[in-house]
């Protein structure tokens, strides 16, 4: 509550806001109304959020990056909904992404992408542990958890490579694809149960909407590019951890900053997963 109140202090330039705030302060916080004085955290000479400029910059960058992803996802939504009721309906993702390595010919909708999601979220957990170890200045633990995070990122990228290969193998291209199903095949697909055997003949397939595959490549590709750069940055920071750069500096804030980026990439994936695969 106190944090929330301080965060709004920058509105102090509005006289009405100042008045209401001090009224509220005397009503609610009778004991320490002195804290709500003009010497607020916004008065200069310090960071109002108690963060270094670097961490603030990372937050601001992530805000801006969120808008980039939003533009792609909004574009995806607009194009997908323009196919509502069209003669070439948008393919059901569960019928397209139903493969799993070594489980040839089985209908396992979204199982693999769920595994990918789990791997990425788990790598966020190890990243949190690395940051926490950093607060305790435990170099060994930071290093170990960062290795796990990097491995998680690489595993995710590997999964994505497999998924792209499978997608391309089945005929997904930037400029065309054949993920549309004839009405008989569609009826058959809808009747499939989890783990059923399925094999589509060429005759079952019809060209799907072009943007289905192009958006798949763009959206997951742009995200994958972020994961890849995250892995590279994590490796650089991990090298610095091992070399003792942050131990000498006395704090592991850099780990925290790349952690913010890593969690963001993770969060974006949750949206990609929801909007592209689940819905």
């Amino acid at each position: 509550m106190a944090l929330f109140r301080n965060c709004l202090d920058f509105l102090d330039f509005i006289p009405l806001f100042r008045k209401v705030k001090s009224k509220l302060a005397t009503l609610i916080l009778m004991s320490n109304s002195a804290t709500v004085s003009s010497s607020s955290i916004w008065a200069g000479g310090r960071s109002p959020f108690n963060v270094s400029y670097g961490k603030l910059m990372m937050w601001i960058f992530l805000l801006s990056d969120a808008f980039t992803f939003s533009s792609l996802l909004v574009g995806y939504g607009a194009i997908r909904f323009s196919y509502a009721g069209s003669s070439t309906p948008w393919p059901e993702p569960a019928n397209v992404f139903n493969h799993f390595p070594f489980m040839h010919g089985m209908h396992l909708p979204l199982l693999f992408v769920s595994l990918m999601t789990f791997i990425l979220i788990f790598s966020s957990v190890t990243m949190v542990l690395a940051v926490e170890a950093g607060h305790r200045n435990s170099k060994k633990e930071v290093s170990n958890y960062m290795i796990l995070t990097i491995l998680g990122g690489l595993a995710f990228l590997g999964c994505q490579a497999w998924e792209w290969t499978q997608f391309i193998h089945e005929g997904g291209r930037l400029s065309h694809n054949n993920f549309g199903l004839t009405s008989e095949a569609l009826a058959k697909a809808n009747a499939l149960g989890f783990g059923d055997h399925v094999h589509w003949e060429a005759a079952d397939r019809v060209p799907g909407p072009v943007p289905f595959a192009s958006l798949f490549f763009i959206v997951t590709g742009f995200h994958g590019f972020h994961v890849l750069s995250g892995v590279v940055i994590n490796i650089i920071i991990w090298l610095n951890v091992v070399r003792g750069t942050y131990e000498r500096r006395g704090h592991y804030e850099m780990v925290e900053k790349v952690g913010l980026y890593w969690h963001f990439v993770d969060l974006v994936w949750v949206f990609v997963f929801t909007f592209y695969y689940l819905i």
Binding site: S47, Y53, F61, D65, V74, G75, I218
Partner: protein, 635 residues
């Protein structure tokens, strides 16, 4: 979470920046400089060069519009195959229009204006040794420079530069064979814009962080000069809108080069589908583009408004009228700018209900804009006005902001827009309110802070002459365009003499072109004054305009870290001019008073007591002016 209290005076490399001396070489001082003052000059010079190029292009295509059937042999020697026989090629005309718009919007009025003055003033007026990350700041400039080079290089490719308008709408921009400029030219345009976005993000992140984190002691948000508030909110707008253009550009690049069809729906020629694949929508591009495009208008305008606020207050020797209202209106404009983009797209077949919603929010922008206008006027009212060139340009901005802003109310109306869309009325509107007003703000800033940047003064007479010629030419060029637009003359047409209905406008087109060339000549005065004064102008005093803000407390000589000793503490707001309890008519923010109140809340004395000798409150004076206006009270 980190528990340490971070103090910008104690942490990092800023606190003791003046303590250690690096050996500066020519390269680290003038080229890859990390000093915000040098980066600001780099932005300014690049902006001026780009501005000359952009204006030069407009002068060339104005020739075509005024004398569509004449030939100008010098054009052929200048442009070669693009002006065979001295007549502009139609495709090249489109290219000039496109690159003129791109240069003016992005390279001059975004980077040249924000880049120059945010870099110069944010650290100096907030009381910081430098930007939060000087290195990123340097990268920001060099990405901008690279972007400028890539854009201009498109003039040297065989098929010419991008020519589908500064908005590069698909399908003209998405199909590489649509017109000559749709080929390599548009690819270069997109590359330039991607580099530009990177530059804008690096700069914007820095500006926001510096304003939030690195203000000196006492510089609370309600003591910030209005310039800083404007730059801060401009950076926020850029940070949230440029990424969307990045997304839009990414999809467009894939459409052009990798066979996707995000922006391509069906195109039929003689009943046969002309595209190998389709399935997207060109309107999607427009939505994404204008989600940037509308905030971009305010990215251009708000720094100019902030600059004129400070210049007007300083040179009227009065506190700015309604400091809080000025900030709230900036916040209001910033917020509204994100939800009005649809007013650029009324005639795309948008649902009329949606159009109505966009119309309402668009018209609401008139409220904060009017608040700002009236506050400028009320600040000028009964001030001890000093007509420096900066002040003239700031007042010119107010004039252009009013006359250009009023037509925004017409264009924001979804029904009227059916007639006015894509006509010269639009050209007139945005050139007055966004183009001219912002460039006037930029000139005000240059004349006002020139002594801070170069330690010398610019010539006042030449400055005033520059103002009057530019002011007259701006109105002569853009005002008649309203009437052309109302009559339905469309923009971007190449040869009006082929359309008999528009023949009656030929004389007006000649007038406009002559006035435009007059404006071009006027800029030569500025160029001469600017570059001459850098080297030969009279040496400035430390605080030549007797201003309150923090940047004038530094020495004339630029040093890394800005202040020789400690960073000054701030004791009051930036506008304590003409306080009756003070001997001097200004009271700098950094000067510790002798028990005077922080802000003077008493009546503002007015120099002229012609009413009845009584001192009156500013608000009384202000409202009584209306009484005079409507002849309700006789003096």
């Amino acid at each position: 979470m980190s528990t340490a209290t971070i103090d910008s005076h104690a942490v990092g490399h800023h606190g003791d920046a003046h303590g250690h001396h690096h050996k500066e070489t020519f390269i680290t001082k003038y080229i890859f400089s990390t000093d915000h003052k040098m980066i600001s000059k780099q932005y300014l010079i690049t902006g001026i060069i780009m501005g000359c190029l952009g204006m030069g292009m407009s002068l060339l295509f104005r020739l075509q519009l005024a004398w569509p059937d004449e030939t100008f042999p010098f054009l052929e020697s200048l442009l070669g195959k693009w002006a065979k026989g001295g007549k502009l090629d139609p495709n090249y005309y489109m290219a000039l229009v496109t690159i003129h718009g791109t240069i003016m919007v992005f390279y001059v009025l975004t980077a040249g204006l924000s880049g120059t003055f945010s870099n110069l003033l944010i650290p100096l007026q907030c009381g910081a040794r430098d930007m939060a990350s000087p290195f990123m700041n340097m990268l920001s400039y060099w990405f901008f420079f690279l972007s400028s080079v890539v854009l201009m290089s498109s003039f040297f490719v065989e098929t010419g530069p991008a020519s589908s308008g500064w908005t590069v709408y698909p399908p003209l921009s998405a199909l590489s064979k649509a017109m000559p400029g749709s080929g390599v030219g548009t690819t270069l345009w997109l590359m330039a814009i991607v580099l530009f976005i990177v530059s804008a993000l690096l700069g914007g992140i820095n500006y926001i962080t510096t304003v939030l984190n690195m203000r000196t002691k006492g510089m609370s948000m309600n003591r910030l000069p209005l310039t800083i508030w404007a730059f801060f909110l401009t950076a926020v707008l850029g940070l949230l809108s440029f990424p969307v253009l990045l997304g839009a550009g990414l999809l467009l690049i894939f459409d052009r080069s990798f066979g996707t069809s995000f922006y391509l729906s069906d195109i039929h020629l003689n009943g046969v589908g002309a595209l190998t694949n389709s399935g997207g929508s060109p309107v999607l591009y427009q939505h994404l583009f204008w989600f940037l495009g509308h905030p971009e208008v305010y990215i251009i305008l708000m720094p100019a408004l902030g600059i004129s606020s400070e210049v007007i207050s300083t040179n009227a020797r009065k506190p700015i009228f309604g400091y809080t209202a000025m900030i709230i209106s900036l916040l209001g404009i910033s917020f509204l700018s994100f939800i009005v983009w649809g007013h650029h797209m009324f005639i795309t077949g948008m649902n009329p209900f949606l159009g109505t919603m966009f119309m309402y929010v668009t018209l609401i922008i008139a409220v904060p804009s009017a608040v700002k206008t009236f506050n400028y006027l009320a600040t000028l009212w009964k001030g001890n006005i000093r007509f420096t060139p900066a002040m003239l340009f700031a007042i010119g901005l107010v004039s252009l902001f009013i006359s250009g802003g009023l037509t925004g109310i017409y264009l924001g109306n979804a029904a009227l827009d059916i007639q006015l869309h894509d006509s010269y009325f639009v050209v007139a509107h945005f050139h007055l309110v966004m183009g001219s007003a912002s460039i006037f703000g930029m000139f005000a800033g240059i004349y006002h802070w020139f002594p801070k940047m170069y330690g010398r003064m610019m010539n006042k007479t030449l400055g005033s002459l520059h103002f009057w010629l530019t002011f007259i030419s701006a109105y002569l060029v853009f005002f008649p365009m309203h009437f052309m637009g109302l009559a339905g003359v469309p923009r971007r047409y190449y040869q009006f003499s082929l359309i008999p209905e528009f023949g009656i406008w030929m004389d007006v087109n000649v007038l406009i072109t002559v006035a435009a060339w007059l404006g071009g000549v006027a800029q030569l005065l500025f160029i001469y004054n600017f570059f001459y004064s850098i080297f030969k102008g009279p040496v400035a005093s430390t605080n030549p305009w007797e201003s309150n803000t923090l940047e004038w407390s530094t020495g004339l000589k630029h040093i890394h870290g800005n202040w020789e000793g400690d960073i000054p503490t701030v004791y009051r707001g930036p506008h304590e001019y003409s306080r009756p309890d003070r001997e001097l008519d200004y009271f700098p923010q950094y000067e510790k008073g002798n028990g005077e109140p922080e802000h003077y809340h008493g009546p503002v004395t007015v120099a002229d007591t012609s009413y009845d000798g009584k001192k009156e409150k500013a608000s009384t004076v202000f409202f009584s002016s209306f009484a005079h206006l409507f002849a309700l009270k006789r003096a």
